[in-house]
Structure formats: C-alpha cells, structure tokens
C-alpha cells in the first residue's frame, strides 16, 4: 500500500471515528430501528384493536408526561449546572404534594370544587412552589455546597442521604400508608369525538404549559438565565466574569424545587392520593425522562417526559400490553437501554468518558 493511501485511510478513519466507534454507532442504529419498529407495530395493532381506548390512554399518558416533565426539569437543571444527580428531587416532589394536600384540605378546609376551592388551589400552587423552592435551596446549602469540589461520589451519597431524610419527613407527615384527599378541581368530563377528557387534564395543561414556557423564558432571555448558562459551562470562568456562582446555583435549585412543588400539587389534585414513597417512584420515572431527552437539555427533558408518559400510559391502559404491574420495569428497561446505547439521550451531547 502506498504512503498516500495509508495517510488517506487514516484521514478517513479520523473523520468517522475509530472502528470501535463505528461499530458502536452501527449497533446503536440497528437497535434503535428494531425497537422503534417494534413499538410502531405494537401501537398500530392497538389502534386497530380499539381506537377510542387508545386515544383515551394516550391523553392520560400525555397528561402524566407533562407532570413528569415538571419533575424531570428539576433533575436536568441541577445536573446541567453542577453535574449532580439530585436523588432527593423526587422526594421533594412528594413533600410538595403533601404540603399542597395539607394547605388545601387541612389548613384552608376546602373539599369541594367551587370558587373558594379554586382560589385555594391557586394559592396552594404559589405556596407549594415557594415551599419546595425554599426547601431545595436549604438542601443545596446544607448538603451539597461543601462538596462541590469533592470527588463525585461524595455529593451523590449525600443526595441519597437527603432523599432518605425527606422520605422520613414524608412518613411522619403522611403516615406509612397511602392517603386519600378530596379534590377541589372539577371532576366532570367532556366528550370529544367519543373520547372522554377530564377537566382536570385541561387544567393541568393550562398550568404546566405556561410554567414550562416561563422557565424557558427565564433561562434563555433573562440576565439570571444567562448567568445560569455561563455557570453550567464553566464555573471558574463565570466567577471571573463577575457572576455570583453560589447565588446562581441556589437560584437553579429554587427553580427546580418550585417546578417540583407545582408538580406535587397537580399530582395530588389529579390522582387524589399521596404516599411517602411517591417521590422515589416518580422521581425515577422523571429521571429516566431527563436521560431519555438528554440530561442537561431542557427541551430534551420535556420531550423525554412526554414520551415516557405516553409509553407508560399505553402500557398501563391498553388491552394488548404488559399491564400496570410491569410499568416500572418497562420504564427502567428504557432507562438501561438508553444508558447503554445512547447515553447522550435524544437531544443531548455525547457524554461517554473521554478516556
């Protein structure tokens, strides 16, 4: 082989990556196509089998997906800025749900869906967001700030510890068994083209979507958002540019917490139950969503959450599916598959270690 051919071959290899990378990409692509086509077949079979039911569970899944999005954003914001998987975030959501339940039912005594109930609901939204935001700031200050430069395993372990402490508060507050609450949102449904849609789904949409838009505006358009993005990129450089890094990180935790608080209220009002281990289950689902979309990427988190919500809704509600008892397994299998084949997620950048 001539010298020039060798050089050219090397150049081509540099362009496409090492043989290992090329093989990996090929495997990823094949696995992705196979999985996607299997999912399509499953969906088409179900649509033909029972179109009305499909639409129904699709909407339900979409609604849950929006809820997951609110939680997933907390994970992805925190991961984006300090590269920490905040295990306690799901439990923060659980405390938000409990706080909202107590706020509406115990402290303000609202049990019916009337004007007073709706006003309390709005007040509870603001209160729960403030409560969870403040709590998240406190958690960051006490458990994570000191460890910002420690080896990565250290803050991960404290995060698990915080999660346990929040669950303890949950047990003491809620009791160790699920608890039912009256709902102040309208319980009626309306029918569009033979599909029943609950009014609370519409209300959830009306609250979650503006919150997501507001977050997007804060991060992309405001000064504080700019500081967040700068800190996420390079803390030291941001500090040199005069950004108060500690305050920016606190602000990020506050936003994440506030979204979790809103999600807590919405969850409690749509399902009507709370439990102390709610945060663990939904937190993991939300984290999976964040990873599916590409962790650290805000749009990705919302996309991933809606996808996961729909997949879970379809799996739980359709006649031809694994059913609700395998719901968690389905979600975690998705988590593991993404981690293995596409750790960057759908919209994220590559994250494999460069070693």
């Amino acid at each position: 082989m001539s010298q020039a051919a060798v050089v050219e071959k090397a150049a081509v290899r540099q362009y496409k990556g090492t043989p290992g990378q090329i093989r990996r990409r090929r495997i990823e692509l094949t696995a992705g196509v196979v999985l996607a086509s299997l999912a399509m077949v499953w969906i088409v079979v179900n649509i033909i089998n029972s179109p009305a039911q499909f639409a129904q569970v699709f909407i339900l899944g979409f609604r849950n997906g929006l809820l997951y999005a609110l939680i997933a954003l907390g994970y992805t914001l925190v991961y984006g800025i300090i590269e920490l998987i905040n295990f306690a975030h799901g439990d923060l959501f659980m405390l938000g749900a409990l706080f909202a339940s107590y706020f509406i039912t115990v402290w303000f005594g609202q049990e019916n869906s009337n004007l007073a109930g709706w006003l309390t609901f709005l007040a509870a939204l603001i209160a729960a967001m403030a409560f969870c935001g403040g709590l998240n700031i406190l958690i960051e200050r006490l458990a994570y700030r000191r460890l910002r430069r420690a080896p990565k395993i250290a803050p991960l372990i404290t995060a698990v510890g915080v999660s346990f402490i929040l669950q303890f508060i949950g047990i003491k507050w809620n009791g160790s068994t699920p608890r039912n609450w009256p709902k102040v949102l309208p319980q009626s449904e309306f029918t569009v083209l033979g599909v029943n849609i609950a009014w609370n789904t519409v209300i959830l949409l009306l609250i979650a979507v503006p919150l997501l838009l507001l977050l997007s505006w804060v991060v992309t358009k405001t000064r504080q958002g700019k500081a967040m993005r700068a800190t996420a990129q390079d803390q030291d450089a941001a500090r040199l540019m005069g950004i108060d890094v500690n305050r920016t990180i606190s602000f990020t935790f506050a936003i994440g917490g506030a979204l979790a608080g809103a999600a807590g209220l919405l969850y409690q009002q749509t399902t009507g139950t709370t439990n102390y281990n709610l945060g663990f289950q939904l937190g993991l689902i939300a984290f999976t969503s964040a990873v599916l979309g590409g962790i650290g990427n805000l749009n990705g988190a919302v996309l991933g959450a809606v996808l996961i919500g729909i997949i879970q809704g379809l799996n739980d509600g359709l006649p031809i599916a694994l059913g609700q008892k395998w719901s968690q397994t389905v979600v975690f299998t998705i988590l593991i598959l993404i981690m293995v084949f596409k750790p960057a997620g759908l919209l994220g950048k590559s994250t494999t270690e460069k070693v």
């Binding site: 998987i85 430069r149 991960l156 500690n246 397994t329 975690f332 981690m339 750790p343």
Partner: protein, 398 residues
C-alpha cells in the same frame, strides 16, 4: 495552618494495624459469642436478668442477620470502596442469590425432580442441591449478571453507572414480585415467596432454621472468607489496579491498567459476595420474600460501607454490625425500653430512615473516610478541600 498540614501528613503516613491482629480479634470475638449463644444462653443456671438482657439487646437472630449484612457490605466495599464505582442496585444480587437458594433448596419446582448431594430424602419433589453447592451456584449466577449489566454500562460516567445499577436493582426484585405467572410459568411464587428451605448439611448434623449457634459459625466463616478474599485481592495486582482507577482513572489507564476489564472484575466480585449473602440470608430466614428486596437494602449497605470507612475491610465490618444491629434490634429495643420507662408511645423503628440518611450525610460532610479510615482513601477524598478554604473569603466579599 502549617501544623495542621503536618499533622495531616503524619496521620496519613501512619501504618495501618497489622491484618493478623485484626483477624485474630475477629475470630476470638466470634468464638466468645459462639460459646455465649451455644452454651451460656440455654444454660439453666444463667441469671435471669442477664438472659433477658441478651434476648432483648443481642438476640441470636440479630447477630446472624448482621453477619449476612457484613458479607454483602464487604462485597459492596469492593465495588464502592476499592474501585470507586457507586452501585445503588446491590439488592438485585442479594435477591438473585436468595432466589437461587429458593429454587435449588426447596420443594418449589415440584414439576422437576433433582437431588444433588442434598440433605433431604430423595422422595421429596423439587430441586434439592447441597447448600454449599448452592452457595457456589448463587455466586456464579450473580457474577454472570454482574458482567451482563456491567459490560455495557461501565464505560459510562460514574454517576450514570449509579443510575443504571439503580434501575437494575428495581427491575430484578419487580420480576420476582410479579413472577407468579410469566406466561403461565411460576418463577418466584410472587408475594407469597418461597418458604421452607432444606437444612444445611455439615457432615455432623443438618442445620434447620433454628440452629442459630451453628449457623452463626457458618456465617462467621463465610464473612471471614469474604475478608480473606478482599484482603488478598487488594494486595494483589487487581487490587492495586482498582485503587489506581479509584484515585485517577486517566492516570491509571496511562499506566496500562485496562479500565473496562478491571472495573468489570470489581463489579463481578462484588456481585459474587451479594449472591453468597443472598443464599445465606435465605437460609437465615428460611425462605425468600420478594417484598423484602427493596431499594432501602441497597442504601443500608451503602451506609454501612460509608460509616465504617470505604475501602477498609475492618471498618466496613464494624459499620455493618453497628447499622444492622441498630436496625434490627437497637432501635426497637431502645424504643420499648424508652416507652415503658417514660410512658410514651413513640414509634422508634420508624426513625431508621432518618438515621440512615443522617449517617450518610454527616459522614460524608464531616468524616468522609469513615470510622476506621483507610489512609490512602483519606487523601483522595479530601483532594478538593484546599480550594474549600478560599470560599469563606469569597463569600465575605459579597
């Protein structure tokens, strides 16, 4: 400042206590406890207060359970303490080991008949294999799963690994939980679990579920085996490679340590310990129950490793004993005593979540190297602390 640094350096260079002293202490303590439980406790002449005290504060079942935790914590220590990989789904290996015992040592699979050196008569239906062989099988199956889950994921960032293992630790127990009817096949008997395991054959006599004293000896020996494996591996080539990876992955790979293979080895060895612990636990409670294998077990084990001292075998044993005892006996017994003494009605066992959470946070914040620190790890864990001292000045400026 200078004196503090010097003191730190001096501490770091201090030689760890000889392993032989530790090992002798461990065996001597085990022997004393065996004598106490096998001979003193059933003895008629034992004063009643002492008997009551032992039954309340140090019942034999709690000691045996703690030993099972020791075995598993030592395995987790290889993954977390030696190789520096965070595994949050360790309970999966415990569950797989437990179900190996359930499948191969009971009447559960009535449709098949197989007897491999078992301690029960051959007329019994089901798969019956000798306990000691089941230990090997459980370890091997777990090692297999460790490699299967580890091979594709260990190349990821360390915190991603934590999540994949967490997912794995959720899926496996759920499969057992729902495994009553997988296409008509009963894999795990679901929530009812598998009960009545074969007794443990020892050559002298077969140990049933209530032979606490003799089973104590078996568990002590299994834990000692894990200690031996941990220390031998650590001293050898593989152990040095693990420590190198833990301290600086990039530098280690530059020195020619094969990252993937070494990490995978730590994961597999840890899984084997989990499998052995699972089999031991199944014989301890005489059955396997799916709902017992939950996320908190993984965290309990992690807290044990963190409390005792990541990477230090003796520290981990101490941590496992303390936390397992507090969880199984300490808190309930303290609660009973406290409530009868003061006429209160406080549910002490419900405080375990708070306790374990606080252990994790406070240890990491204030004593990251654990109760019995490992000297090398101390230096690694406090690497960033020099920068820490700049922070107060910065905050003042604000």
């Amino acid at each position: 400042m200078a004196t503090r640094a010097a003191r730190k350096a001096k501490k770091a260079t201090r030689q760890p206590a000889s392993h032989r002293t530790w090992a002798l202490g461990y065996l001597a303590l085990a022997a004393v406890m065996f004598v106490v439980y096998q001979y003193a406790l059933p003895w008629e002449g034992l004063p009643l207060p002492i008997y009551d005290f032992l039954q309340l504060w140090l019942p034999p079942t709690a000691i045996n359970e703690a030993l099972v935790y020791v075995i598993c914590a030592l395995g987790l220590n290889i993954v977390v303490g030696y190789a520096g990989l965070l595994d949050l789904g360790y309970v999966a290996f415990w569950a797989i080991g437990g179900y190996c015992a359930g499948w191969f040592m009971s009447n559960f699979f009535e449709q098949w008949n197989f007897h491999g050196l078992a301690s029960v008569p051959t007329t019994e239906p089901g798969l019956h294999i000798n306990f000691w062989l089941v230990l090997v099988i459980g370890g091997a199956v777990c090692a297999f799963f460790g490699v299967v889950i580890g091979a594709p994921t260990l190349r990821l960032k360390s915190d991603y690994l934590a999540l994949v293992t967490l997912g794995f630790g959720e899926i496996i127990p759920q499969i057992f939980f729902n495994g009553e009817d997988i296409n008509g096949f009963n894999l795990s008997n679901g929530t009812k679990g598998i009960t009545r395991l074969d007794p443990i054959p020892t050559g002298v006599k077969d140990l049933g579920p209530f032979d606490f004293g003799s089973k104590f000896v078996i568990f002590v020996l299994l834990a000692a085996l894990m200690v031996f494996i941990s220390l031998q591996l650590r001293r050898g080539r593989l152990g040095r490679a693990w420590l190198a990876i833990r301290e600086d992955e990039l530098a280690a790979s530059m020195m020619g340590v094969p990252l993937m293979r070494t990490k995978l080895a730590s994961y597999a060895v840890g899984a084997v310990a989990g499998g052995i612990g699972g089999v031991a636990f199944a014989t301890h409670v005489d059955g396997v129950y799916a709902e017992r294998f939950n996320f908190s077990i993984s965290i309990f084990l992690l807290a044990m490793v963190v409390l005792g001292g990541m990477g230090n075998v003796w520290g981990v044993i101490l941590g496992a004993f303390i936390l397992a005892w507090v969880n199984s006996t300490g808190l309930p017994a303290l609660g009973d005593t406290f409530n009868t003494e003061f006429g209160t009605d406080i549910d002490f066992p419900s405080f375990t979540f708070l306790l374990f959470g606080l252990v994790l946070i406070l240890m990491i914040l204030f004593k990251r190297e654990g109760l019995i620190p490992e000297s090398r790890l101390r230096m690694v864990l406090h690497e960033g602390d020099a920068d820490e001292e700049l922070k107060p000045a910065q905050e003042e400026k604000k």
